[in-house]
């Protein structure tokens, strides 16, 4: 029934029809690229795909990638939500400078980001030295991966959360305050729930950006190998036949995660 409703509503809107057709081009572009990769692997190199499913190095690197990116997103949320709220609600001197700083990681070449992070976080670096004394090592370790992913992915989260908070009418908070809610009560019970769609979508983007990161991670932590490092390594030693199946498995895992989050974020909240 829903299909009929959609087509009916489209028929009444010829402009939407045209827009849909134009949009289809970019979807086809993505689908064709992925289909080529997935088809080649699943149908022409099924054995190679089965091999990597049984390869503990592959499974642990994909798991590590998803997990470290999850940690990076979590840190981005804890630190980013307060920042996003302040930026959405207040105008102050230097705000634009802060907002520009937030966007910088999106534009810097990732190798440059990696080298900058390395010199700061290496065992003998300014910050890395301190963390080593409390038992956290970044150089060639999981925390180095998290740090690199956080650096490149937090802009996506902060910007989305900022848009979310900005979309909540401040008057709603004021009404809550006049009804006796404290400032933090109003934030947690009014503003935050109303912006949850933006926050979830920002978190998904931030997580996805982390999973796809390679350039910055590989400088600070070549080991333990995340999926993109392992894919390039296998590509260089064993060619496409050994690297493509890993890429396909990563795509499938990410697609499932994406879909799950998108469906979950659609429901209630």
């Amino acid at each position: 029934m829903r299909y009929v409703e959609i087509t009916n509503s489209m028929r009444k809107n010829p402009l939407s029809c045209i827009f849909f057709l134009i949009g289809l081009v970019i979807i086809l572009f993505v689908v064709a690229t992925l289909f080529n990769l997935i088809f080649k692997t699943l149908f022409l190199n099924m054995e190679g795909f089965r091999d990597i499913l049984n390869d503990p190095a592959v499974i642990s690197s994909i798991w590590l990638t998803m997990y470290t990116s999850f940690l990076a997103t979590l840190i981005a949320m804890v630190l980013g939500i307060p920042l996003a709220y302040v930026l959405a609600r207040h105008d102050f001197f230097g705000k634009q400078i802060i907002e520009s700083f937030i966007d910088i990681p999106v534009i810097i070449p990732h190798t440059v980001a990696g080298i900058a992070l390395f010199s700061l976080l290496m065992k003998r670096g300014a910050i890395g030295g301190f963390f080593e004394s409390i038992g956290i090592v970044f150089q060639d370790s999981m925390w180095g991966i998290v740090a690199a992913m956080l650096f490149v992915s937090y802009p996506f989260f902060v910007n989305a959360a900022k848009d979310g908070f900005a979309s909540v009418n401040p008057n709603l908070e004021k009404v809550a305050r006049t009804l006796g809610a404290s400032q933090s009560h109003a934030f947690f019970h009014v503003t935050l729930p109303l912006s949850v769609r933006h926050i979830v979508s920002g978190a998904i983007m931030s997580w996805a950006r982390g999973v796809s990161e390679f350039g910055a991670v590989v400088v600070i932590a070549y080991y333990p190998m995340i999926a993109s490092t392992l894919i390039l390594y296998r590509f260089n030693t064993g060619g496409l036949a050994e690297s493509q199946p890993i890429a396909v498995l990563l795509i499938i895992m990410c697609f499932i995660t994406f879909l799950a989050f998108r469906l979950a974020s659609k429901k209630k909240w």
């Binding site: 390395f118 590989v218 070549y222 080991y223 390594y233 260089n236």
Partner: protein, 347 residues
Amino acid sequence: MNKKNMILMISICLLLVAPLFSGCISSDEKEEEPEPVTLKVLHAGSLTSPFEKIEAEFEADYPYVDVQLEPAGSVACVNKIIETGIEADILASADYTLIPSMMMPDYADWYILFASNEMVLTYSENSKYADEIDADNWYDILRRDDVLWAFSNPNLDPCGYRTPMVIQLAEAAYGDDQIFEDLIESYSSIYAEEQSGNYIITTPEDLAPDTDHLTIRDKSVDLVSMVLEGGLDYAWEYISVAVQNGLDYVRLPKSINLSSVAYADDYNKVSVVTCDGKSKSANPIVYGVTVPLNAPNSDVAALFIEYIINEVGQGIFELDGQPPMVPAGVNDIELVPETLKEYLEQI
């Protein structure tokens, strides 16, 4: 549409159309010039500095050629051609033997030897024990628990598989048969087996380095900035890379540093089997270059190789700490392009 939007729209339109105009102008002006050619050069990371200089000289003389340098580990360079089917015009490897062993006869039929190099242990003034280290005690310093040292991935980069070779050769040279076990076997999954006086080193796919002591990266030049930043104490490099980047370095005896043809027989006792199952014997480090048989622009490639082996190239290699071979050697002088023959000597 307000004024601001109007200006924005106009500037976007101008940006979109601009390339068309520039195309018209350049094609009008340079009508007699040959078709622009893009020359794709896959080369060892350690050749980056001299090749950039040769590129500048070459492009000044042949403005219609755009040379695209693509540095990577030498094995990775060869794999791009034979595995991935990338069509490159020139391949230059830090180990000339890769060309006969991996590319011939399907992807190449000749190769030119044009420069040599040697293995050194590099460090910076920030490195631990920098004031102590020398050619007699380096292996004891690398053994120390608080020292962090590095080499590149043996499965991807000849500098990487030459490092365990040097360390294996050091055992005989220094009369200490624990060096390899202490520095390589106890810090990684790489292992050596002795077979009637010869040593076969195996480098598994998963090198599993103990990252508290040993760091591994794709190619040896990736380690340079890490040493300069003070994040690593020591890294194994070619002397050329050390000279070009201003690193301090320990020069090792000729019997182990893989620089001398006179020691070729000693070097040959050690070989490395990389994770693709292929075996590489320790040889004097000599750079090799070839034009792959499927090169799209083999004529222009020959012109570029001329710049590598003529006086221009020789001067550049000399300055960069990679002694040029004069004259350059070739495996089969009958097969090379005619214009190169005057610079070459059959080996």
